[in-house]
């Protein structure tokens, strides 16, 4: 077995604007090997694949360090087109298919089989006709390798998502020079039986000598199909292990790890308040973050964390409760049923929301700090408004006074309450959001991704502020975050959301294994 690795990536490092996202990653894959890559969001999986594909986002941000060899030959991959000609194929997470073309036409897109005709003989090969018979035959062959009964004549538009996924794979298989095939979270959109089918297909593809790179966060799938597994965490290469040397539990632990920068919150004296919000069978139709039946109880005075991987639905919960996306189910606040799909009702029930989309939903960027802070309370509860019968005027003095108080309290760095929010840094914008939510005097504060897009120092400040509000004012806070370490540093309980449901509720000091398993959609033993 003195076979040369088909792909070898050596010492790959990459920085975006001074932040290191990949730190000397090494990877080598043999022909016919299935190699799994696992890691949390932001571990560097997609960046690594972008480098392999020569995506322009890599080159426009200063390129990368390290070298890539294909079949022993050093290569410089400058564009996706070049990657394809080197025999690298990719099955994307989002489908790249034309809905109104047939399966075969999509498989052969831009690589159509041509045959000369009368006109092309005169005017040149650009005008040759498509050889549909050959195209259908080739497509049939590719689909048969996948062992799936898709009709090559069918239009993409009417197909179930699983079949679209297989069409994408067939397109890559149809490329004659294919040597390396990358699957980027291919089972995310598939049902269980389709996923099984896909894993079977992957094994067969590998058996034909093609190297497969398989990216997923479903650990059981990794264990099932992969020969070797590489774990990435925070842009670093944690380890590469052969399948027989590891198991799901170990992978989960390696994947989550423990971040240095946050201290885990010590377990609280286990007093629990009375339930303040009960969520039953909540479904939220938020694109990309669908919630499919969440049951959750929030207790008075706690900080409840909602964690989980991107796209699993954790973000949808708070957005649904606030009435921002179509929602069904039942939510009770202090025992009273909440009218869903109506933001005013949610605000009136004493909920305040800090959106994960701070610049889009959370702030009026081109308005003053004072107006941003006052606006929630002004529209929600009529604070800062003086009324005379049907006429009303905004109380500018009260708005100013309130803004000055919060600017001092939260240490918002600005030139004054009249400054436009757009000119503030991310951390200070987030403080304005906090001030805005506090001005509404909420019973429950819902916070989504409080530290997204702000620098490290500001992160600590924002988290400390949330903690202080909880400790000093006894405010109930529900924090949704992709950063597990962050949740573990401030929360009393953490619910992990997988596939739109609560996979389990953990304490901040529970083991890394349990967090990893829940995030990967595995049940944990109650004894653990």
């Amino acid at each position: 077995m003195a076979v040369e690795p088909i792909l070898r990536m050596k010492g790959i490092s990459k920085s975006y604007y001074g932040t290191k996202v990949l730190d000397s990653i090494n990877l080598s894959i043999m022909p016919g090997e299935v190699h799994g890559i696992v890691g949390e969001n932001g571990a560097g999986k997609s960046t690594l694949m972008n480098i392999l594909f020569g995506m322009s986002v890599i080159h426009s941000t200063g390129g990368f360090e390290g070298s890539i060899e294909i079949a022993g030959q050093p290569v410089e991959i400058k564009s996706p087109l070049q990657a394809m000609s080197l025999g690298i194929g990719m099955v994307h997470q989002e489908f790249m298919l034309l809905p109104n073309y047939s399966v075969a036409e999509n498989i052969k897109l831009n690589r159509e089989v041509l045959k000369p005709n009368f006109i092309s003989r005169i005017f040149g090969p650009k005008l040759q006709s498509l050889d549909y018979d050959q195209m259908y035959a080739d497509s049939r062959k590719a689909l048969e390798r996948l062992n799936i009964g898709i009709d090559e004549y069918a239009l993409i538009a009417g197909l179930p998502v699983g079949h679209m996924q297989f069409t994408e794979i067939a397109r890559e298989l149809d490329k004659q020079n294919l040597r390396i095939l990358v699957f980027d979270e291919p089972t995310a959109v598939l049902g269980e039986s389709e996923a099984d089918h896909l894993l079977q297909a992957i094994k067969e593809i590998a058996a034909s000598g093609i190297a497969v790179l398989f990216i997923t966060h479903r650990l059981n799938e990794i264990i099932e199909v992969c020969d070797n597994i590489t774990v990435l965490r925070d842009g670093r290469h944690v380890t590469t292990k052969a399948k027989q040397d590891t198991n799901v539990i170990e992978l989960a632990e390696l994947m989550v790890g423990r971040s240095m920068s946050f201290a885990t919150r010590q377990r609280q004296s286990s007093h629990q308040g009375r339930p303040i919000m009960e969520i039953k069978n909540l479904s939220v139709d938020m694109p990309g973050e669908r919630v499919r039946g969440v049951n959750l109880t929030v207790y008075e005075g706690e900080i409840l964390g909602i964690g989980g991987l991107a796209g699993q639905g954790k973000i949808g919960i708070a957005n649904g409760i606030m009435g921002l996306f179509p929602t069904s189910g039942e939510v009770k606040v202090s025992g009273a049923s909440l009218e869903l799909n109506n933001p005013s009702a949610s605000i009136a029930a004493g909920l305040a929301f800090m959106s994960e989309d701070r610049r889009g939903v959370g702030l009026l960027l081109d308005s003053s700090i004072e107006l941003n802070i006052a606006s929630g309370a002004m529209f929600g509860t009529g604070r800062f408004v003086k009324t005379w019968g049907p006429f009303s005027q905004v109380d500018q003095a009260a708005i100013r006074e309130n803004a000055e108080k919060y600017i001092a309290d939260l240490d918002i760095r600005c030139t004054g309450p009249k400054q436009h929010v757009r000119q503030l840094s991310g951390g200070n914008q987030q403080k304005v959001c906090i001030a805005r939510a506090l001005t509404m005097n909420p019973k429950i504060l819902l916070v989504s991704e409080p530290t997204r897009g702000i620098d490290v120092g500001a992160k600590q400040l924002v988290l400390a502020t949330l903690r202080r509000l909880n400790a000093e004012l006894g405010m109930t806070i529900v924090v949704t975050s992709s950063e597990l370490a962050e949740l573990r540093s401030i929360c009393t309980r953490i619910a992990i959301i997988t596939d739109g449901r609560v996979a389990g509720i953990l304490r901040p000091d529970d083991s890394d294994v349990n967090f990893g398993l829940l995030m990967a959609g595995q049940p944990i033993d109650k004894g653990a």
């Binding site: 933001p343 939903v361 959370g362 009026l364 308005s367 529209f379 408004v385 009303s392």
Partner: protein, 353 residues
């Protein structure tokens, strides 16, 4: 950041236009034109258009963009005016309306039309989010054409309005007979040297602007501005964005109706048929020249824009005529170039952050 926004406030198009206005004024002095007369007619013209330009403000603030369809409001105002004249005619011998009262009656009659039309128009604009301006333009053109038929068939009997032969109302209806012509202009009017100040007219505009200023500081006004500046933020704050856009559209339509009556009394005639067709473009151009964008506007923009654009209109004609004696339409041409150029410029800036 700050330097950039400072430049934005005085962007190049506005500087050029302001410079052009200054140039025209200097030229007018150099050419020994009758300055007093120019100032008088500038003041009058600014007053005539003031309320119509103001009508753009609630539309932009509520997020539907400059109201190219303000012709709807204009038509409602004309309808109110005709109804008032008809009422005065039918009630002859029963009640004699003093001119001031009749003017108020005209405004009152136009309001229900403007209210209903504004609600329907707002509903329409909520269905075409993203292309409001184009839809508005065509709604404006369509309503003017539809009303051409209506002017012929509406059952007005007042002989001052009817064609001497045939049916329908005339193209221009004189307001002098009922004492309505210049009723606002002459109220408390005074002279400084040869300059006539149309006090009542300017006061009317100032009053409308002040009421708008108060409204924008009310809870509803704040909610409307929020809905316009960031709809998603507004929804999250419990504001029903579509309602706010309808409120903005109704206000714009009502101001259009009042605006055309203010305009007409100064002009001395109600102008029907083709006349309202291109009026929205003047109002749109004026507020944009004042510094507004299709997304953001203030009362200050209304005032600056009205002064600049209508000032240019008044001064450009005699100056151009003095330069090119045998090409008398030069003034009109330069007005059109500025008007359409500024609208075009603002539209190209619309997408920019």
């Amino acid at each position: 950041m700050r330097v950039k926004s400072a430049f934005k406030d005085m962007d190049i198009a506005r500087l050029i236009i302001a410079a052009f206005f200054v140039f025209l004024c200097i030229a007018a002095v150099a050419l020994r034109l009758n300055i007093s007369e120019l100032i008088s007619s500038s003041l009058t013209r600014m007053g005539m258009w003031g309320v119509l330009v103001l009508a753009m403000l609630p539309a932009i603030v509520s997020g539907t963009g400059p109201n190219f369809g303000v012709s709807l409001g204009i038509v409602c105002g004309l309808l109110g005016g005709l109804t008032a004249l008809e009422l005065a005619y039918r009630m002859e011998g029963v009640v004699a309306f003093p001119p001031g009262a009749l003017f108020l009656v005209a405004i009152l009659f136009s309001l229900p039309f403007a209210l209903l039309v504004g609600i329907g128009y707002g509903w329409l604009l909520n269905r075409v989010k993203g292309s409001e301006m184009m839809i508005a333009t065509y709604v404006g053109f369509s309503i003017v054409s539809i009303m051409k038929l209506a002017w012929v068939f509406l059952p007005f009997k007042n002989p001052e309005m009817a064609w001497p032969i045939g049916r329908g109302v005339r193209v221009q209806i004189a307001l002098a007979n009922r004492g309505l012509a210049q009723i606002l202009n002459n109220f408390l009017a005074f002279r400084i040297g040869d300059v006539v100040v149309p006090t009542g007219l300017l006061l009317a505009v100032a009053l409308a602007a002040f009421l708008m200023w108060l409204f924008l500081r009310s809870q509803t006004g704040m909610a409307m501005a929020t809905a316009g500046s960031n709809p998603r933020f507004a929804e999250a704050s419990g504001i029903v964005v579509d309602h706010q856009r309808i409120i903005g559209t109704v206000l714009s339509t009502v101001l259009g109706a009042v605006g055309i009556l203010v305009y007409s009394q100064s002009y001395g005639f109600l102008q029907l048929y083709e006349a309202p067709m291109f009026m929205p473009f003047v109002a749109v151009a004026a507020i944009l020249i004042g510094g507004a964008s299709v997304k953001k506007a203030t009362i200050t923009h209304v005032i600056i824009g009205t002064v600049l654009f209508l000032g240019i209109q008044v001064v450009a004609v005699p100056v151009a005529n003095a330069f090119t004696a045998d090409w008398s339409s030069m003034g009109e041409i330069s007005r059109k170039i500025i008007q359409n150029g500024v609208i075009l410029y603002a539209l190209t800036q619309a997408g920019g952050e």
